[in-house]
């Protein structure tokens, strides 16, 4: 784990290279936010310009984590996507969803709470988009069966997925990126973020009950429809399901132990993906591999290089100096600013480019604060850790703020619309923003209490 961080001692000067890189970076981000051109294309063009215009050497972009692609993130994402793609046809996710609905005995409020918990737990293990893609169709079906409005359920799931995803290293891309950059392991996230998320989840469920508890009532004969569904019929391939759960078990154990045995999370996931491909007995891996979300993967690749360019010319260092200026080196203030700023930024723009930038900014800031430290001692400086956790909590939970704050929200809104149930931007906002503010507020108290008062 303790790979040395490459020293960046070069002082930055605001010369033409600096401005070229800054302009490419800003233009790319503006176009990405405007959504006029697909974000992956923008990121790749911007990344290639960084190399073509000699801001980065190709070697730096492709082989140095500091200035280029973080392959740990890329392979972790690809591998987890392969595992899910292999699991999907087994019917496992349909089984879980139908089983959950029956566990709720056809009571809409119980079903909403159970679905929210299942969404959160699945999102902590798989990525959020996958989770809502797998649960939302069943939610729409159950809502039709019970003749209730599906929209509260869908919004609750999107929110739960962003909350649950925050809990673990693999739950949400910002965490994967932070973990890789700060060399934090799976258990670090479990110790530091999961407790906060459990508290937040309990409060969230309570709020759900408060808002919807009174409104949702269903005739007994409609409940019967749900109770008569046989979840066992969902299982299409029991043998493959067993193999999948076996491999998923190994992967989870691998994640828990990866820090201890000095493996990167990507190694664990890659091993799982390879093993499950082997066990699946497929002779044609083509379609499984084709279903990997390559646009997302290439978006990451492009972003890493884009950010690498502005890290190299010193833009990020300049930003970090500005931030230190703002907080006067007060670390509690820095944590809080990072958390709230991240939350607000992530509720408006994609949190992936945001975190890619913030990661570098925080490291540059750490270098100013503790110039004598290097490597792990710098990245995981006791006083820096709360800032990483603040970034993770802010960036992940901020996604709940608006309908476009997180991919899971976008997916849910899109799916609802296709089913003829339009969720307006304002309607999502009405639930999302208060929940975002509430959850970030709880996180704020948590970080303050745990790291600055109790210091545990």
């Amino acid at each position: 784990m303790a790979q040395e961080v490459v020293e960046t001692t070069q002082q930055f000067v605001m010369n033409s290279t600096f401005w070229t890189a800054t302009i490419i970076f800003l233009l790319a981000y503006i176009i990405i936010v405007s959504e006029k051109i697909h974000k992956t294309i923008v990121a790749l063009v911007g990344a290639s310009l960084m190399i073509v215009l000699k801001i980065l050497q190709q070697r730096e972009a492709f082989h140095l984590e500091e200035f280029g692609v973080d392959w740990n993130v890329i392979f972790l994402l690809i591998s987890m996507m392969i595992i899910v793609n292999l699991m999907r046809p087994t019917g496992f996710f349909e089984y879980i969803a139908i089983k959950s609905a029956k566990l709720g005995r056809g009571e809409p409020m119980r079903i909403m709470v159970i679905f929210a918990v299942v969404t959160a737990v699945l999102s902590a293990t798989l990525d959020n988009v996958t989770t809502v893609l797998l649960l939302a169709p069943v939610t729409l079906l159950i809502a039709d069966a019970l003749e209730v409005d599906a929209i509260p359920f869908l919004i609750a799931e999107a929110l739960a997925s962003n909350i649950g995803g925050t809990a673990t290293l693999i739950g949400d891309p910002p965490n994967i990126m932070i973990a890789s950059k700060a060399r934090l392991d799976f258990m670090d996230f479990i110790y530091n973020l999961t407790p906060a998320i459990i508290v937040i989840m309990v409060v969230f469920l309570f709020v759900l009950k408060l808002i919807f508890g009174k409104k949702l009532h269903v005739k007994p004969e409609l409940k019967q429809r749900v109770m008569e569904m046989n979840e066992r019929e969902a299982i299409k391939d029991p043998l493959m399901l067993k193999k999948s759960l076996f491999v998923l078990g190994i992967v989870v154990i691998g994640f828990v132990l990866h820090g201890k045995f000095n493996y990167e999370p990507a190694t664990v996931a890659l091993f799982g993906a390879g093993l499950l491909l082997l066990l699946s007995g497929t002779k044609e891996p083509h379609h499984v591999l084709a279903e990997v979300e390559w646009p997302t993967i290439f978006f990451f690749i492009g972003l890493f290089i884009l950010v690498g360019g502005v890290v190299k010319v010193g833009l990020i260092k300049w930003m970090s100096l500005e931030m230190l200026d703002l907080t006067q080196g007060n670390l509690l203030a820095t944590s809080m600013i990072v958390m709230w700023f991240s939350a607000i930024a992530s509720s408006i723009v994609d949190n992936i480019p945001y975190v890619a930038t913030m990661n570098s900014l925080i490291i540059d800031m750490a270098k100013q604060l503790w110039p004598q430290e290097t490597g792990l001692a710098l990245l995981q400086h006791t006083d820096l850790l709360p800032i990483w956790w603040s970034l993770a909590l802010g960036a992940c939970l901020g996604g709940n703020g608006t309908a476009i704050g997180a991919s899971a929200n976008v997916i849910v809104v899109g799916m609802a619309e296709r089913a003829g149930k339009k969720i307006s931007f304002i309607r999502f906002l009405a639930y999302g923003t208060p929940i975002m503010i509430l959850t970030v507020f709880i996180s704020m108290i948590y970080v303050w209490l745990r790291y600055y008062v109790l210091k545990i």
């Binding site: 349909e94 797998l134 939302a136 069943v138 079906l141 039709d144 046989n230 299409k236 799916m415 296709r418």
Partner: protein
């Protein structure tokens, strides 16, 4: 023989603004051939009588199946009465939302083999026939082609 020799006249059609309910009723009362009533598909023409789509029974089935059903394997978890419920829910859907937009048509001087080949390769039941100005002049049903084959085979024997 060419398409125009076997085509049937257009006796009824839909406009894009018709509702699903109006559509099924129109299909129910539209005459088929000389003395039968009820068709399994209708053309959709705009105000200038341009062909903009086609609606078949299959399109109507697709329209009443909820979109989420195709996202996952949920066929096992449906209930008695769901089909009827869903049909009522989408009764006011517009033809423009449910029609097949890419309509394959043939010119009126197309050889019958071209029509037959299209029916089989594109899995069609009916092909609209258009003139030089791209206006609809008739429609060929799969049965019309079949009758042409019957005629060719049995006439020779006679």
């Amino acid at each position: 023989m060419k398409a125009k020799d076997i085509m049937e006249p257009i006796t009824s059609y839909l406009s894009p603004d018709n509702t699903l309910k109006e559509t099924v009723n129109r299909m129910r009362v539209t005459s088929r051939g000389e003395n039968k009533v009820g068709v399994k598909g209708l053309l959709v023409l705009d105000e200038e009588k341009n062909l903009v789509g086609i609606v078949s029974i299959k399109d109507i089935l697709k329209a009443i199946i909820p979109s989420y059903m195709s996202l996952m394997e949920l066929g096992d978890f449906t209930w008695d009465g769901m089909l009827e419920e869903m049909a009522k829910k989408v009764a006011d859907k517009k033809v423009s939302e449910i029609m097949t937009r890419e309509v394959i048509s043939v010119p009126d001087d197309a050889p019958l083999m071209e029509c037959a080949n299209l029916m089989v390769s594109k899995n069609l039941q009916r092909i609209p026939v258009v003139n030089n100005e791209k206006k609809i002049v008739g429609i060929i049903y799969v049965r019309d082609l079949y009758y042409a084959i019957v005629k060719a085979l049995l006439d020779k024997e006679n």
